[in-house]
Symmetry: C2
Subunit: 547 residues, 2 copies
Amino acid sequence: MKIVIIGGVAGGASAAARARRLCERAEIVLVERGPEVSFANCGLPYYIGGEIQSRDKLIVTTPERLRTRFKLDVRTLSSVEAIDRKHKKVRIKELESGRTYDESYEKLILAPGAAPMRPDIPGIDLPNIFTLRNLQDVDRIKRQANSGIKHAVVLGGGFIGLEMVENFVKLGLQTTLIERNGQVLGPLDQEMTQPIMQTLLAHGVKVELKQNLSSIEPIDNGLLLRFESGLTIQAEMLIVGIGVKPETKLAVDSGLKIGTRGGIWVDDSMQTSDPDIYAVGDAVEVKDYVFGYDVIVPLAGPANRQGRIAAENAFGGTSHYRGTQGTAVVGVLGKTAAMTGASEKLLKRNKMPYRKVYIHPAHHAGYYPGSESMTLKMMFDPQSGLILGAQGVGGAGVDKRIDVLAVAIQAGMSVYDLEEMELCYAPQYGSAKDPINMLGFVASGLMRGEHPQFDVEVMLAQDAATSPYVIDVRTAEEFSLGHLPGAVNLPVDELRSRLSELPRNRTIAAYCQVGQRGYLATRILRQSGFETSNVGGGFKTYQMHHP
Amino acid sequence: MKIVIIGGVAGGASAAARARRLCERAEIVLVERGPEVSFANCGLPYYIGGEIQSRDKLIVTTPERLRTRFKLDVRTLSSVEAIDRKHKKVRIKELESGRTYDESYEKLILAPGAAPMRPDIPGIDLPNIFTLRNLQDVDRIKRQANSGIKHAVVLGGGFIGLEMVENFVKLGLQTTLIERNGQVLGPLDQEMTQPIMQTLLAHGVKVELKQNLSSIEPIDNGLLLRFESGLTIQAEMLIVGIGVKPETKLAVDSGLKIGTRGGIWVDDSMQTSDPDIYAVGDAVEVKDYVFGYDVIVPLAGPANRQGRIAAENAFGGTSHYRGTQGTAVVGVLGKTAAMTGASEKLLKRNKMPYRKVYIHPAHHAGYYPGSESMTLKMMFDPQSGLILGAQGVGGAGVDKRIDVLAVAIQAGMSVYDLEEMELCYAPQYGSAKDPINMLGFVASGLMRGEHPQFDVEVMLAQDAATSPYVIDVRTAEEFSLGHLPGAVNLPVDELRSRLSELPRNRTIAAYCQVGQRGYLATRILRQSGFETSNVGGGFKTYQMHHP
């Protein structure tokens, strides 16, 4: 068997190592355009910021190591120019010498990755405008960032954009973040990104939302960015992190099927439209695990997994890729934001029925020092209770809870299963009722009709005729520091003795700070004959919707 | 409805709050022997050590708060002396006044907890010998620990014993830990406790295993502990933490069914043999989720859950308790040990077929600073791959992985599902191939026959005639620092060119440091016609078995 693999980073390197383990006698050629294979692309921003101090740390493995240990025929600084599917060979160009030659294959695995996008605007090719993909980019960015400049601009508030912002802040650079949309971290729901926004602002980052860059001009000490709104910003360097575009040129040129989203089409065995060619990683379209439609999800975990599967199937295996859940996490200046499965906005866009709950728990028992708070949001099917998606933002422990929910989604678990989860508990690690159990209690109470809940933004959008009578069941002091529009203060501990103050002819909405007292108030009122719902997630959730 | 609840800490307080939420009109009487309800029992050791500075923090809620918010009839310093099941009433004694009176119930919920055991030996009632159950115990222990003494002894190396040791070390006390068995943390498998042992020793704790205390004598400056082995130890205080005994007196006296393990018998609705009496928490027997037999598991999470279920069913609900998985975690001087599901020793004792794997991954990407290492062990069914149990020990991230595996066990997932898990990955949080994925790869490779593995202790126990030819595929330098008995060094990178040095008529065992190079060596050798297995978990696992 002779396998040629195009691309030697996450998916390609995984495929190559797996192929060798499966077959000692196979001829395995790994062709990589860059000088390195298998570098730590997710670590690049942290080397720029100095968190990772040694550049060598970014080299996960060397071509030499792959040759010795895995007996791979590694060809770096080599670009595949064309695929001749008929004769099953690829044309390889040695980038240093310019020499081209043909290499035959029995099976071909494409792992070309995705290229950073650049807006097509005047001035985009000026100096000191960078994208971030490989170590050469990193060297250039690091040089400029450490050249004595004071001000950096990041275009694009996605995962990589925010990681770059964090690292520029750590370098002491005044940093401006520009985002075209109304929120950072596009895959998350907007309100869940508010704590990240606040963190950015608290660290002195200037954030400009809903700004479209229209042109860039050279000025004396750098660049002048002009926006459609009329805004102008001066910058000494600009990082463009507005997303990536799958590298499909080879696939297109050789007539392989391209999917509806513009990525290389593959089936669930990672096979392209040509049975002798597999494709993996950022360049391919895969199924969304929740929605079932095709998506392009440039994540390292799925790329590695797909690389393994492609290698197994190239040797006649029957491995299948189950689709991508989109589990993702980002750290931003001490805060964590993470998600898995469907977002609320995609559920809406796909007109899928759902309900949602919010909780604002502490990472671990409040009585043990150092407990950090978080917000968890979960979407689920209103009929079955099946968990559809979850998001978390806050301090320590967000990634742990999203991991648990990622497994729950994979397992097809419902909100009722969360009530029963038995997770690690000691006061440094969690709570006897873990945030996950609490999510289960709140969502199951909603499902069972025992704990009816208003979504705060839906409730506030109602017109005067149908809107509920809103009571704030927190203390007078809490109420005085801010409350929902039109709310009346009636502390939960006084509720039982003041029922006569409440209208019997209107629906009542009760709320507190995070939802717990509002839940008790709801129970008290419903059993006293009032049509009442709790405002899910309380005032804290309202504040995330109305920062 | 009138409900009487006996015991106001975890299970009892949960039941009371749940009962009120379910029914605003019910009369709910909560009877608690101590002066407090719902205190943070898992936090007690950390208040002694000073990590939790304020005693008030340990009071989760007050009787007054429960009265106001939940309209509970809370009676502290009140002991239930007897249950009259025929007339459905309990006899309550006010501990301060000595007055007794009867209180009727429609439903009764028992949450009496468990009492610390004390060995029945001479001198056990001398001063400065303590057990740890409530705030009064804590006050006494804290007073003695801070009285200028230098040396404390902890009897019992279980979860609470180790937490006490940690806190005595933090107080600067010279600390000795005595354990009757051959290992600390009895529920874990012995080899998995080795990193904890090393941590204890590194912090100057004296650990005496396999020591049976036979008597205690008063001496001038404290206590003289005499052991069956002849060992004597002087101590200025002694904490007895050798386990707890369910408080079943009330249940026994009133003729309720007692289970095979000595706890109060309940069905999966938490109902005792009397349909009007429920029981929850440390005093009851529940089903082990993996083995299906009855167990007594004194853990806060299950107690809370059972309290909710009992309250729901007391009001005619149909909630079921799914059994206890035994998920537990403990922090010891910067290290974490955690487990869920079946241990290897219990699988052996129950003669259940299983296979196991070990991995020694880093918490997060090695190239990002601060990555801490851990060991994970997983047991699974050799036919189906169903996950039966898991244990972890190490630094950051152990609790996260055990939580994920706890959910996998609850969901009935197999090792193959672990390969496909899509967990949070950014370099600060994990790896593109998370430790959980790695567990899946190693176990699935074993299941599929592609990655045969020896258990190191089984391999070493074989006699000379059948024992394999052992090769150490690490570097010469690693080999020189220690290796398996009888092993021959043959670095993996030289293996392909030195096959002729290996015997063709013997099974070969290949191993490396953690298992990865050994796996590759196994693949190379098997495909070259050698009957070869990898030594699972490598030299590091061997060292845990042979400290």
